[in-house]
Symmetry: C2
Subunit: 670 residues, 2 copies
């Protein structure tokens, strides 16, 4: 029943046509597990996906609502909708009410159920308290290396404890001047000390809640002046010792990760990750840049990653660690060039227009208030510098954290993201290039793909005889599988190929293959029966998924080949390979080599180093000298533009097989 029905009759006297337009308004209700129902007004003909955007409900649609990714499956509970036919919904599922939100338009008041699988790719936020987690070890080890290199103890923050004389009628000096006098006695009487407004606002209460004793957090500025950032009551060492908190941020095209750090000890306190809120505007940077040029687009994309994604993540990690966000006194950010522009609200449009020029490589040190994220307004903010339109701060930060810049031997850094990025070199030279892998490594473009969060299959082995898969699933014991993350995909496809279930072209071998089920007629391999109750579907891999994944791995391998060829090196010149990216807690290198994604090198030469961009930001966070070093790395790095290289397309086509058209590269017969 329409909430209102405006019937507009336009009677054109001069012609014999009577036009009747009806603009009906309906209510669309979203039911979401574990959350309140959401209701939005809809005009006849709008899609359920458009309704979700109105409701600020981030239903996954990495294909931007084109009906091609199949991630926006919802279940119709009541109402009438017009739905396009799609290979993503089987006839039996259609009868059960399943629809693609983007391809279904409203014709009445409608209620739909949104399964968590439709929110998994983009939305799911994961926060881990690292003080009780083994993941802490990654950062402890890296911190040790930083200390050895002298990148430690120079973030400028310090703690000062003072006991003041209480004011009296005959000594009515103001609080600030009273405190500065006492602080100068400790720091050095000639010191020029400023006061942040944030600290000034707390000052009267802090002083009077502990008999005019207090503990201050100060920063020594690069010009040797000091700034009072924060204040706490009391001046005892224990237990009040205020933790100096810092935040490292990695902004990927698909995923965002943040790390809360104790800047005094280097201890990583909590880590959080979520899908980049910009995904609703397209899976790749080009779609986002185009969206940013539309009216209000830059603001939308900026807020989609700041307000809708990073700010809630900060709030969650701070809650987990027990500090309010304004206790974050220093921030370091690493991201690709487009993401850095959008994060800072700088128009990125010229990145995709010849001659492909960023608005900036470096930004200089910014301030917390610039970001509007609720961190301390006077926090120093370091942004990892980029070197070109497609090699950004994530790569300069990664080249730092992988320590490529100081090695004698030749190393290769492979960063698996929506853009695959490579750095090759050593202490004498560094060359970088980027290739468009697409979002497959982070679960995009794959029917049942998802980011490496709870419910993701992160490893898989298949029994050659029974063809039964054995899965490793991220999450607490008993966690049901919801989809496949990057490392799970690599494993699964490697195993499918090893067991002869798929062939070198990525086609599913139908005949006599017990593992294959193809009731939809689209060629699909059923991995596991899971979760049908909620999402109504098995976890499957389709031939389209295989095609998408093979293109992604082909882009990586051909980029490596092209770069080494240009430098007149062969694959065996590479002494160490560092693999990074948010594709899972690890990667089965054997399977990655088996499918022709990585070069055939001894397994011990491979090291998975997690999120190298986040680690690089961690380094910049804990040391000003490290931030300076990242800047220096960026200035010295050579950028190789693959697309302008004549042999790259041939290399790419040859790499779009399993493992490769040239089997000799993988020690196979030609």
């Amino acid at each position: 029943m329409p909430l209102s029905g405006d019937r507009v009759v336009a009677n054109h006297r001069d012609c014999d046509t009577l036009i009747i337009m009806e603009a009906c308004t309906y209510t669309l209700t979203f039911k979401v597990a574990g959350a309140q129902d959401l209701k939005v007004p809809m005009v006849s003909g709008e899609s359920i996906w458009e309704g979700a955007k109105k409701a600020n409900l981030a239903i996954d649609a990495p294909c931007s609502g084109n009906g091609t990714c199949g991630k926006c499956r919802v279940k119709l509970l009541s109402g009438t909708v017009d739905s396009k036919e799609t290979r993503h919904i089987a006839p039996e599922e259609y009868r059960d009410g399943y629809r693609l939100a983007c391809s279904s338009t409203i014709r009445s008041d409608t209620t739909v159920f949104v399964p968590s699988s439709a929110l998994a790719y983009q939305n799911r936020m994961k926060v881990t308290d690292l003080r009780t987690s083994r993941e802490q070890g990654v950062f402890t080890a890296f911190q040790g290396e930083l200390r050895d290199m002298g990148f430690w103890g120079d973030q400028g923050l310090m703690v000062v404890r003072v006991q003041l004389q209480a004011p009296a009628l005959e000594d009515p000096m103001a609080d600030r001047e009273r405190l500065l006098r006492a602080a100068a006695e400790q720091i050095g009487t000639g010191a020029s000390i400023r006061f942040s407004l944030h600290a000034l606002r707390k000052l009267p209460q802090v002083l009077r809640s502990a008999d005019f004793s207090c503990t201050g957090v100060l920063r020594q500025e690069v010009d040797q002046t000091y700034t009072f950032l924060d204040l706490f009551p009391g001046n005892e060492q224990e237990p009040a010792s205020p933790v100096l908190v810092g935040l490292a941020i990695d902004i990927g095209t698909t995923s965002v990760s943040i790390l809360l750090v104790n800047l005094q000890t280097g201890e990583a306190l909590a880590v959080g990750s979520a899908g980049n809120g910009q995904i609703r505007y397209g899976a790749d940077v080009i779609s986002r840049i185009i969206e940013s040029t539309r009216p209000g687009g830059l603001e939308r994309l900026h807020k989609a990653v700041t307000d809708a994604c990073i700010e809630p993540l900060i709030s969650q990690v701070c809650h987990t660690a027990g500090f309010p966000p304004e206790r974050i006194y220093r921030v370091a950010v690493a991201a690709n060039t487009t993401m850095t522009h959008l994060f800072l609200g700088v128009p990125p449009e010229h990145l995709r227009l010849e001659p492909y020029v960023p608005a900036f490589f470096d930004t200089g040190t910014l301030r917390g208030a610039d970001l509007g994220l609720g961190v301390h307004p006077d926090a120093e903010v370091e942004i990892a510098p980029g070197i070109g339109s497609y090699v950004g701060g994530d790569i300069t930060a990664g080249a730092f954290s992988s320590l490529l810049f100081k090695k004698e031997s030749l190393s290769l850094l492979i960063d698996l993201g929506t853009n695959g990025e490579l750095v090759f070199g050593n202490g004498e030279f560094l060359m970088a290039c980027a290739c468009s892998a697409g979002p497959a490594f982070e679960g995009g473009d794959i029917s049942c793909g998802m980011r490496a969060t709870d419910g993701a299959i992160e490893a898989c082995s298949i029994d050659e005889n029974t063809l039964e898969p054995v899965l490793k699933i991220i999450g607490p014991p008993g966690q049901k599988p919801l989809g496949l993350c990057g490392s799970g995909l690599i494993d699964t496809i490697g195993e499918l190929f090893r067991c002869g279930i798929i062939n070198a072209k990525g086609r599913i071998v139908q005949e006599g293959n017990r593992a294959c089920r193809d009731e939809w007629g689209i060629g699909s391999y059923t991995l596991v029966y899971a979760d049908r109750s909620e999402s109504g579907r098995d976890i499957v891999l389709t031939e389209t998924d295989l095609d998408n994944f093979i293109r992604a791995k082909g882009a990586i391998f051909s980029a490596i080949r092209t770069m080494l060829t240009m430098l007149d090196f062969t694959m065996d010149a590479i002494e160490t390979v560092y693999v990074s990216g948010g594709i899972g807690s690890g990667i089965n290198v054997q399977n990655a080599i088996r499918i022709g994604m990585f070069p055939k090198l001894p397994l011990e030469q491979y090291h998975y180093i997690g999120n190298s961009s986040l680690s690089g930001a961690y380094g910049m966070l804990t040391s000003r000298k490290a931030a300076e070093k990242v800047l220096e790395i960026g200035r010295g790095m050579t950028y190789l533009e693959l697309s302008s290289h004549p042999s790259y397309m041939d290399e790419f086509v040859a790499a779009c097989f399993i493992p490769h058209t040239d089997g000799t590269l993988f020690n196979l017969d030609a």
Copy 2:
């Protein structure tokens, strides 16, 4: 008719009482001349004044809604209200529907008319384009004096014009780095140049809209680095020469004034003033401090002066002068100690608790983003320093702009505000004190008082024979009088006394006095029949008004006497008197002496210097050295606490006569 009626029945089983509570909700409609009707939901028993606060309609109530000031008169058009009896509404007016908003509670759906007189005191914003006004002259003259003293040309802002090489595939340097290279060639190749995020966001578009030529606004920092604040397309001198805009702010307890300045020429572009939005929380600083300690109070008071008052003023003066607020690159603020605390959101509560200690004297230079007022986020913000709880930055700024600090002769600065403040001294010493005059000089505590804006009677003379008043009214020709501002009050009371209409005790001489009308039985002098159609009342002065004014003038005179006595000076030691304050465009000193407000000195020794606090802020705005000098003045100034001085109360009581109990002070017979 109630919109909803919730009937709550609480039946206490253990006692024999049945409690019935009815919470009825009504709609209160405000009709305001020249504006849209405002509707708010009301609960039975709430006052019309509370409804006005909900509607964000700032009906005047300097008495904080206690029913004593009589300014919140509205006219009931429909509905039932319970109204307390009040001397401010005559029986005849009551029959016509007039009510005090604060003393009338709602009993039904109600509609009231709000006459502009009920909004005049607090609300009326006045903005003047100084480029076409004679007021410009005040600042031109002062600017000349500043130049002569060397307080000029050192605010650090500069303009750089460059032509860049356009980027190309073989020269893909980023925009920022390209511009910095060119700017460094002009400034000096070793210069360290930072980039504000504000400028970075504009950079790509600016460069491409004028063939990679641009004009930049830079600031040379005190540490000799540079910051790019802003950018404009093109590099021609004319007509693009960007105006470097600055803003001076004076925040008084009752009134706020702001001045937009061209920092290159010193030209004052536009001036604006409005009532301090905090008036709704009480007329004096003590009420405001108390309100600030209530839950959410500090935030309310902070926003009442920033968001509700200064931000709209900025928006108006910027609109008048034709610049967006983010073009304001430098800001200077002068205010009393409480106002400075509330403006910055710093808790002021200890200002009124022994030992009366401010949170700060000085703040150091702040940043635009700290203020949240829409000015350039990297603007330098100078705050005039205070020296005590009741002598604030308005006085140090005033001591600067009156040039007391450099005179050989002994001078007295009298700043007439809600707090009267005095500075006495010369180039060798300066002593300051404050007295609580109350808001009478700015129109508060006076039935028909108003600020010095359009409609205010600013001068008055009375014909001794006819007793007819001749009025001078602020505003365009034909402006009807709405009330009395400070200078008009001084004149009127001086004239009433001269003509024998009032006596030395401030009582209206009834017998045979044709000018007196006292139909309300409260002792009132009718100044003029005006505006009855809208506010329904004559402009009158009551004996209560006279009492309030006499206390205000008595506070000033007794403070002068006490301070001079303490220093062993007599009145004739004063060689020059500077009178400042927003009491009108001038003050009739003869009348001020006649009523015993100012000491009996030759008229030529008096100089009205307008708003000395705003002028001081103007000086700080146009010169960093001037801001430094104000700081130095503050450090060297001695603060005299009058309340602790034994003779002050006796002096005050003696001064609460016209002119004084000791007539010899005014050359009268004892």
